[in-house]
């Protein structure tokens, strides 16, 4: 105790921090709904500690980076665990930040006088996503290399300054050693520095403006009365932030860290998945989960809208988020009285969820090895005539399976062909094979007439015995007579 007093006499920490720690907050805000922000902060601390530890071993040089990651995984004592904690920490940080943002939005906490807190929060969101992307690049595996390629292709769509921007981002005309160094500097110095600064502002405003009270339906926010009423509520029914409100943060934060450690211990580190050697082209690049929704969007958008949406979409979305507290800075806070707000949260979460799921599945991508790896199921060749069997061989050899499935196996880019003969007539099939169309390449040049005859003879057999063969709506000339 005397030691503590000795230090206190010199540092005067109690005098400095005491009022901030114990400042009164609305009793209603000492709730389990208010723990996500502090949890994000705690994970950020975890990321800093584990990140510094990883930097002790990691080598940001393209010649050695892969070896240093493998060394971390297999030779450095507990290196695998720290890599795993850092990876799972990043996933949890994005997730917690999203929950925090949803809670703040639903509880109307961005309204007067906390507009700037929200705006700073938007930049914190961007920085955190920036950390996620740059961190993924530092893994410097095939996903990282081609993920960068995707980023470059997106930036390269910018008119006028596209090329210069590409060079600025990757540190030269092509992805190489300087690219990795650049992203290392961004991930380790630049973005964390920004995060620290913004975080300081964010927390300062939480202290100065107070924690948002639990929104009561019908209690409207007005610029001239809000602060007075808030002060009054805190004075009448406030509790000290520490320990009353903070104890839930502490409990939840501890649980989150434990969950990260558990995930890290069970699932281990992620990657690196194959060295970033561009000549190894037998790769199927996929981003980490936070960018899967974006990845899916690029497959599903109509191509002619893409360049516009890639360049304008993010700007509009961010501008809208920043403008939100200025568009709706007063009035109702409770989400029970803000149906549009509540529904948009549900819709946005659903859209992002579905897009992420689709991104993980990628049904639009050809299955590159289906033609050699997924044989035609036996029931589709049983009892077929020789010509039809020849057709089945053509079907397999010409890589039709990469995009068309049979018996649930194969690509899903084109329609499954299990019952195609009940949907398309013989003539239509020939036309489709030769000329393509509807997102299918034309095979006219790559198939001999015999191959086409055999292939279509096989396709003609692809229908359930319970379904009639497709018929042309136009009667043949003889019947017309």
């Amino acid at each position: 105790m005397r030691v503590a007093d000795w230090f206190e006499e010199r540092l005067q920490l109690k005098k400095l921090l005491g009022p901030s720690m114990t400042h009164p907050v609305p009793r209603s805000s000492a709730s389990w709904w208010y723990v996500f922000g502090s949890a994000t902060l705690i994970i950020f601390m975890l990321q800093i500690v584990t990140g510094i530890c990883l930097a002790l071993v990691y080598v940001p040089s393209t010649a050695d980076v892969y070896a240093s990651l493998e060394y971390l995984n297999y030779q450095q004592p507990l290196g695998w665990f720290l890599r795993a904690v850092h990876f799972w920490g990043s996933n949890f940080m994005v997730a917690m930040m999203s929950l925090h943002m949803i809670q703040v939005f639903l509880f109307g906490a961005y309204k007067y006088p906390r507009e700037l807190t929200w705006v700073v929060g938007i930049f914190l969101l961007l920085c955190t996503l920036g950390m996620a992307f740059t961190g993924q690049v530092l893994r410097w595996d095939q996903d990282a290399y081609w993920g960068l390629g995707i980023g470059v292709a997106m930036i390269g769509r910018m008119p006028v300054i596209g090329a210069q921007l590409v060079h600025l981002v990757i540190g030269g005309p092509i992805i190489g050693a300087e690219t990795l160094s650049r992203f290392f500097a961004l991930h380790v110095f630049v973005v964390p520095g920004l995060l620290f600064g913004l975080l300081g502002l964010h927390l300062l405003m939480v202290l100065k403006l107070g924690i948002n009270e639990w929104p009561m339906p019908g209690r409207l926010v007005a610029r001239d009365t809000y602060r007075e009423r808030y002060e009054e509520e805190v004075k009448r029914d406030g509790v000290p932030f520490f320990p009353v409100a903070a104890q839930k943060d502490i409990v939840f934060g501890g649980l989150v860290i434990l969950a990260i450690l558990l995930c890290a211990a069970i699932f281990g580190p992620y990657g690196p998945n194959g060295p970033a050697d561009p000549t190894l082209i037998r790769t199927v690049p996929r981003p980490d989960f936070y960018f899967l929704s974006l990845f899916a969007l690029f497959a599903l958008l109509p191509p002619y809208t893409e360049t516009f949406l890639i360049l304008v979409g993010p700007v509009v979305a961010i501008a809208f988020l920043i403008a939100l507290p200025f568009l709706a800075g007063t009035g109702e806070k409770s989400f029970t009285r803000r149906p549009v707000a509540a529904v948009s949260v549900v819709v946005i979460v659903l859209i992002l969820g579905v897009l992420s799921y689709l991104g993980a599945k990628s049904p639009w991508s050809p299955v590159m090895d289906a033609w050699s790896g997924a044989p035609i199921p036996v029931e589709y060749v049983k009892g077929r005539a020789p010509l039809q069997l020849q057709g089945a061989t053509v079907f397999q050899n010409k890589q039709c399976r990469n995009c068309h499935s049979l018996g649930g196996q194969g690509g899903q880019r084109g329609p499954a062909l299990d019952g195609i003969a009940s949907r398309m007539t013989h003539d239509l099939l020939i036309r489709q094979v030769l000329q393509g169309g509807g997102n299918m390449p034309a095979y006219g040049k790559n198939l001999s007439p015999f191959e086409v005859t055999a292939l279509v003879a096989f396709l003609d057999t692809l229908r359930s015995p319970h379904d009639a063969a497709a018929r042309s709506p136009i009667p043949p000339p003889r019947a017309a007579r």
Binding site: I150, L168, G176, A276, T279, N397
Partner: protein, 176 residues
């Protein structure tokens, strides 16, 4: 809160003229320093931009190593490599030899979002593993989201070797 305590330490106002001169001098010195530091800083970081259009002829190998009427994967070493580039300096590309000395050399990057396209000999198609872009053997767009045909390198034949002008990642605003 602590202002009163510090207030006593503030020196009495000095003669206005000398203080303002010193202050302006300080401002000027620091502005000069900021410019002298800022220009090299920006120049250093932005030097990546000025390295634009740096391309050089690089060899893909002997012409005879590419059979006629076939498409083969080849690779060149990035002409602007640094000593620690290692594997990333090897840039792959697809070489299609039509007949004799007629070639087409396609960049590996899909024109949609830059993923590595793969050649399928049997169906005569390039397919992209990311968003399902497909191209014909001559680089024309066949299906999927790509906005243009495959990027093609400029090429020439020197001393029996096929050479391309390489060293830059192709994008829509700067196709090779």
């Amino acid at each position: 809160m602590c202002d009163q305590g510090v207030g006593g330490l503030v020196p009495p106002p000095a003669p206005v003229s000398r203080r303002s001169v010193l202050f302006k001098l300080g401002l000027g010195l620091n502005a000069l320093a900021a410019i002298l530091l800022g220009v090299p800083l920006v120049g250093y970081v932005a030097s990546a931009i000025r390295r634009r259009g740096q391309q050089a002829w690089v060899s893909l190998g002997l012409v005879s190593s590419f059979p006629e009427r076939q498409t083969r994967l080849a690779s060149y070493t990035n002409p602007f490599t640094v000593p620690w580039d290692a594997k990333v300096a090897d840039i792959p590309c697809w070489v299609r030899r039509l007949q004799g000395e007629r070639f087409q050399v396609f960049a590996i990057n899909c024109t949609h979002l830059g993923c590595p396209i793969r050649w399928f000999q049997e169906s005569g198609l390039f397919m992209c593993p990311c968003h399902g872009g497909v191209f014909y053997e001559d680089g024309r767009h066949a299906s999927g989201p790509p906005p243009r045909p495959l990027y093609q390198y400029e090429h020439r034949i020197r001393d029996g070797r096929l050479e391309v002008r390489g060293g830059q990642i192709p994008t829509l605003s700067e196709p090779v």
